[in-house]
Subunit: 369 residues, 2 copies
Amino acid sequence: MARVINFNPGPSALPLSVLQQMQEELLDYQGTGMSILEHSHRGQPYGEVHTEVKELLRELLTIPASHEILFMTGGATSQFAFVPLNFLHADRSADYIVTGTWSVKAMAEAKIVAEAQCAWEEKQDGKYLRVPVQSELKLDPNAAYCHMTSNNTVAGTQFHYVPDSGSVPLVADMSSDILSRPIDVSKFGLIYAGAQKNLGPSGVTVVIIRKSWIDEAKTEGVPKIFRYKTILEGDSLQNTAPTFPIYAVRNNLRWVKEQGGVSAMEAQNKHKAEALYGCISEIPNFYTCPVEASSRSLMNAVFRLPTEALEKQFVAEASAQGMHGVKGHRSVGGIRISMYNAIGVDKVHTLVKFMREFAKANSRPAANS
Amino acid sequence: MARVINFNPGPSALPLSVLQQMQEELLDYQGTGMSILEHSHRGQPYGEVHTEVKELLRELLTIPASHEILFMTGGATSQFAFVPLNFLHADRSADYIVTGTWSVKAMAEAKIVAEAQCAWEEKQDGKYLRVPVQSELKLDPNAAYCHMTSNNTVAGTQFHYVPDSGSVPLVADMSSDILSRPIDVSKFGLIYAGAQKNLGPSGVTVVIIRKSWIDEAKTEGVPKIFRYKTILEGDSLQNTAPTFPIYAVRNNLRWVKEQGGVSAMEAQNKHKAEALYGCISEIPNFYTCPVEASSRSLMNAVFRLPTEALEKQFVAEASAQGMHGVKGHRSVGGIRISMYNAIGVDKVHTLVKFMREFAKANSRPAANS
């Protein structure tokens, strides 16, 4: 079958050339006579991959020397626990900016370890429709850290600025928008991201951490294997790394670099978002985006149709035309289009063309006027 | 390049047919128009894989209904922490049977959480050369659990019986010998195994756990994502699963089944071990296995040559003849041959032939008599 257009929220589309390279060398990695799946995590061929991923991340995200790159597992969800386990001392409190499902879960894990307070949260009819502006944040100047979710896959919102947490280390879950735009890493104490959106397939979590902060981490009662310090000292090889997912990330990062790096990705992502949100704005009687304009995500666009029946039909017809993964998250309903780096501009144009045709064919002026 | 013979201790060899299938369908999984790497962990195609792995494990290992199968990440090393975090209550102690490097690390993690006592440990000249017999174990009848390492990759030792821990739940790290022989799962409270030996590639950890024991687990102070109960309730999908490693395990388990299941694997593994240990015994002036005969591992055979220079030469000549991964662990030196399920009998015969020739060419009767 021809490859479909994959708008899945994650795991999500990978560039075809990245998949093709993996396919080509699956039985014999670089003339070594074995698959990368079979190579030792301590051997030279995999070791070079491991090093290259770090170098590419450092280059693509302009990661300063003050920050280290770690590979962990268990996804962002495990980081919800690792962060307070390492940095939330029993007599301290952490700030959480709550902008959706994932922030709620992150804060709940922190509360199991010690105190956490909500620095901002707003729901309208039970839904998260925007991110806060700086002046709305109620920040504790003595907080152990301040946690944010930079992009919210379920709500379709995204921070378009970096909150200022003063001298309090800023921790960001960037699972769904890392590599989509340049970031000033120096502003963050810790950034974490599950790989399965812009980095590669699922199975590895990238952590970018300020080295000096690691020295302030708790150790008492914290299992050694859960300490960032252990991972750093072991160069993320203290236990057998998920070698294939890391190898896949390497290949994908090479692709990002070939495309012109993160700035080129950002330009393309802006173009895709303008095309999609533009289409929604142009047909307001049929498509509505509940998210406040200034908070709209460039990665995950959510919108509604006049009725749930039409939304169901939209999903079915999109699928029949080779466009998959467009159904909204079960908690918010509607449609969600995830357009990570691997989704080319042409794919979004194909979708927009379909959206115009679908609206035309299914608009009932009497009912919608 | 032709595929080499891969005696790596893990990640290790995978059957060629398993790799070929992955290669064939890497761009288009089962006519879905996308790679398994791109499929949602909540979609049907991956969902079927997820279910099939559990069914195959249940069938191949005759896992009774009392036990559940979980997929986790972070390897056995993370289980060293998860087990005490869940089951070692603050006022309790756990027993650890210490048979090598990995047991030592497992016990150290337990001691961070609460009390742990050593039920047996024996080193000769700093090396672990055997596993205990039942009568040697100093077991605490009130222990929270009793932990063992069924096979020791570094020392080359293996339990050839299941220790009787009475009513105390038995926990086994079976990372390096799961699926190599039939086991009576009902005797264990919990079995865990990193995938990267007999199960598949690295990136997923299989946990087999007695369901009723989960209800006794601690919750206070234990992050939700680190509770076995959370993983069970989420069907190992509470966060994005490492989909490709699990898919690779599925393909490998199908292969094990095609080969005749775990009994057939055991017969083959015995045959391989007899050939290799037989060769060592037949040339005692050149090859010596330090491990006590009754404790020798069928998975990892360790042995020495007369001098370190000859060992170095052995590694180089084996490599020149297409046999890789034969160097012993840095902590014990010498040679280590890892012969997991994917290593066919013919591969070990090729090695044995090489060993005979190497001994003949390099024996100096005067020096070794």
